[in-house]
């Protein structure tokens, strides 16, 4: 069984030879642990593709999450000059904008006056929204345009021709033996990124009808982007929905402003493809696991345990484990970043014992592996999975009245 088959079987709750391992790595982790400069990893399709594959191999992960889109091959031609300082590099673009590239974290795109771009909710016309890519080279913009080119929508499609290049690169480099996952942003996340989080959250109460009209418009673009990814041949699509947890909104607000739109996205992609789709929502989500399931998602990523979140893996397994696959629950900060290799093994063992019986479990950190997490800690995940007896755990699951394999 290769890694790709192993992850696919786990996502379908089928028997696996061992529990698959796959974590989302913070982009800063690639910056700190790969050969290319952070500036290149962020801006260049090839450098990021290389980084993704290098760390998947180093950490013996069964899958890769591609969490940046393909980049404009002409990106260097928009640069005026680059400054190098103690904390990283700063790109000065020809149009006057600036990108600060720290050595360990996501770059920030700033306007000439060094402020970030946000648009006022009152200024938005929902009809002019389609998709907001928060990781675009020039950040978010309104009306939307890609990168630093003057062309608001290069090519005939809204999505530029290079948008899928990283996916193509990784698929080629991994030769179809590793599970390759791509990412789309939830309409709710896109809107909050465009408005600024605080203003976005208030807008939801100020004018719920307009807020929903914006989400509906963004749903169309999200479906199109998801369909493009599926057509490239990815093994799964992750919906990044970071602001849908209890740290931000109530279960009622989730039902109103997240659920219907993520459901429409999933249904829309599934009209054209049967690619598995799963959801990443961090923080406190114990009160909304079933609601998340109602979007039609096939799996839930993250499941942050206390103190970062409030999900008890056994409880989650009991509530949603029959219908959805689970990926996560290992504390990325207190175990992976600040813990020891022995501590990682111990915690991974706990997750495996609870998550593995009955299948449908992928060993993973809850949220992203932090930039400064020691590589020796991350390596212990594959070691823990390799040493875990899946069949024995299924037998004990049956004996204790747990779920059985389908």
């Amino acid at each position: 069984m290769n890694s790709r088959e192993r992850v696919a079987r786990a996502m379908r709750h089928e028997a696996v030879d061992r529990v698959p391992v796959m974590c989302q790595l913070a982009l800063g982790h690639y910056f700190l642990n790969c050969q290319s400069a952070p500036l290149d990893i962020w801006h260049s399709t090839e450098s990021f593709g290389e980084a993704l594959v290098a760390l998947q191999r180093r950490y013996r992960f069964d899958g890769i999450l591609i969490n940046l889109p393909g980049r404009d091959p002409q990106w260097r031609s928009y640069i005026q000059h680059i400054e190098t300082g103690a904390d990283g590099q700063t790109i000065h673009w020809k149009n006057g904008w600036i990108t600060e590239c720290p050595r360990d974290d996501n770059p920030h795109v700033l306007r000439p006056d060094k402020s970030r771009f946000f648009v006022a909710f009152e200024e938005i016309d929902p009809d002019s929204l389609f998709y907001i890519e928060p990781h675009d080279l020039s950040g978010t913009s309104y009306p939307y345009c890609w990168g630093f080119s003057d062309d608001p929508a290069p090519g005939t499609s809204f999505f530029p021709p290079w948008q899928c290049d990283t996916i193509r690169y990784v698929l080629r480099a991994t030769d179809h033996v590793v599970s390759v996952h791509s990412e789309i942003f939830s309409p709710f996340t896109q809107l909050l990124e465009l408005l600024d989080y605080a203003n976005g959250l208030m807008a939801l109460l100020d004018d719920p009808l307009k807020f929903k009209a914006c989400l509906k418009a963004l749903t169309r673009g999200t479906i199109e982007w998801g369909r493009l990814q599926a057509a490239c041949g990815v093994d799964a699509i992750l919906i990044s929905s970071a602001f849908a947890g209890g740290g931000f909104i109530s279960p009622q607000q989730y039902s109103e402003f997240v659920l219907p739109f993520e459901k429409a996205v999933i249904d829309g992609i599934h009209e054209k493809s049967d690619v598995p789709i799963y959801t990443h929502t961090c923080g406190r989500i114990a009160d909304r696991l079933e609601l998340m399931g109602a979007t039609g998602t096939q799996g839930i990523d993250t499941l942050d345990p206390p103190p970062l979140g409030n999900v008890d893996l056994a409880d989650a397994k009991k509530r949603i484990g029959d219908c959805l696959f689970i990926k996560g629950n290992l504390d990325p900060v207190n175990i992976m970043l600040k813990g020891t290799p022995e501590g990682v093994i111990c915690e991974a063992q706990r997750c495996l014992e609870i998550g593995a019986p009955g299948g449908g479990y992928i060993l993973s950190t809850a949220c992203s592996v932090p930039p400064h997490a020691p590589p020796e800690n991350i390596l212990k995940l594959a070691e823990a999975a390799a040493g875990f007896d899946v069949e024995k755990s299924n037998r004990s699951g049956v004996e204790t009245g747990g779920m059985t394999l389908s």
């Binding site: 970030r116 989080y197 959250l201 208030m202 109460l205 109530s250 970062l308 400064h372």
Partner: protein, 215 residues
């Protein structure tokens, strides 16, 4: 009019009404401090309880804070010299270097101001030098730091160690908060308190000032 009415509109996040009622209360002869205590802060106390009990979430808290700010605009100039409020304490607050997140920090800043603190807000991405300079200038009782990222939470440790080494935390207490931050982390890095959310952070700041007064 009753000051309770201001509290009621604040609890539902109605900024316009809070602003109008605050202005009317001043015109009716109420003191700025009474309006603050019995109107705005009374309302915010209820908001804090509702938030703690998960009856309301961040969107509601933010709109209540916006309403509070609308009222505060009229009270601030009058409160600035008032002995009742200026005695609470001074706070230098900022999101640490490398971090651009400020929802929590802004809420704490607002609530501290409302509680009578003189707040020096360093904004986001505040460098160590900025904290040092501000502490030297303002001599605060509270130094509050926020970080939303695992990459930046370690900056708080560096800041605390350096500020202590430089003797800049004598007579001051450090309060920290942010999504990846825990009470244990606060203890590990030598912070004096941790606020799980803006309400708790504000309450902890008050306690810390009280503990300084008691010594």
């Amino acid at each position: 009019m009753e000051l309770q009415e201001i509290a009621e509109f604040l609890i539902i996040g109605h900024a316009e009404r809070v602003e109008i009622l605050t202005r009317q209360a001043l015109e009716a002869g109420y003191s700025a401090n009474d309006i603050l205590q019995q109107g705005l802060l009374a309302g915010m106390d209820v908001v804090g309880i509702q938030f703690k009990n998960c009856e309301i979430f961040l969107p509601e808290v933010l709109t209540c804070a916006r309403a509070m700010k609308a009222g505060m605009r009229h009270l601030e100039p009058l409160l600035r010299g008032s002995t009742t409020t200026s005695s609470t304490g001074k706070c230098v607050i900022g999101t640490v270097k490398g971090d651009i997140h400020d929802i929590g920090k802004n809420l704490v800043s607002l609530l501290l101001q409302a509680s009578g603190f003189e707040v020096v807000d360093l904004g986001t991405g505040a460098s160590m030098e900025k904290f040092m300079e501000s502490i030297q200038t303002h001599r605060p009782q509270i130094v509050a730091m926020s970080a939303m990222l695992t990459t930046t939470m370690t900056q708080m440790e560096t800041n605390i160690a350096t500020l202590r080494k430089q003797g800049l935390l004598e007579g001051a207490k450090v309060l920290i908060g942010g999504a990846p931050v825990t009470a244990q982390f606060a203890r590990d890095i030598g912070a004096d308190a941790y606020g799980r959310d803006a309400m708790e952070g504000t309450a902890k700041a008050r306690e810390l000032v009280q503990s300084l007064k008691n010594h």
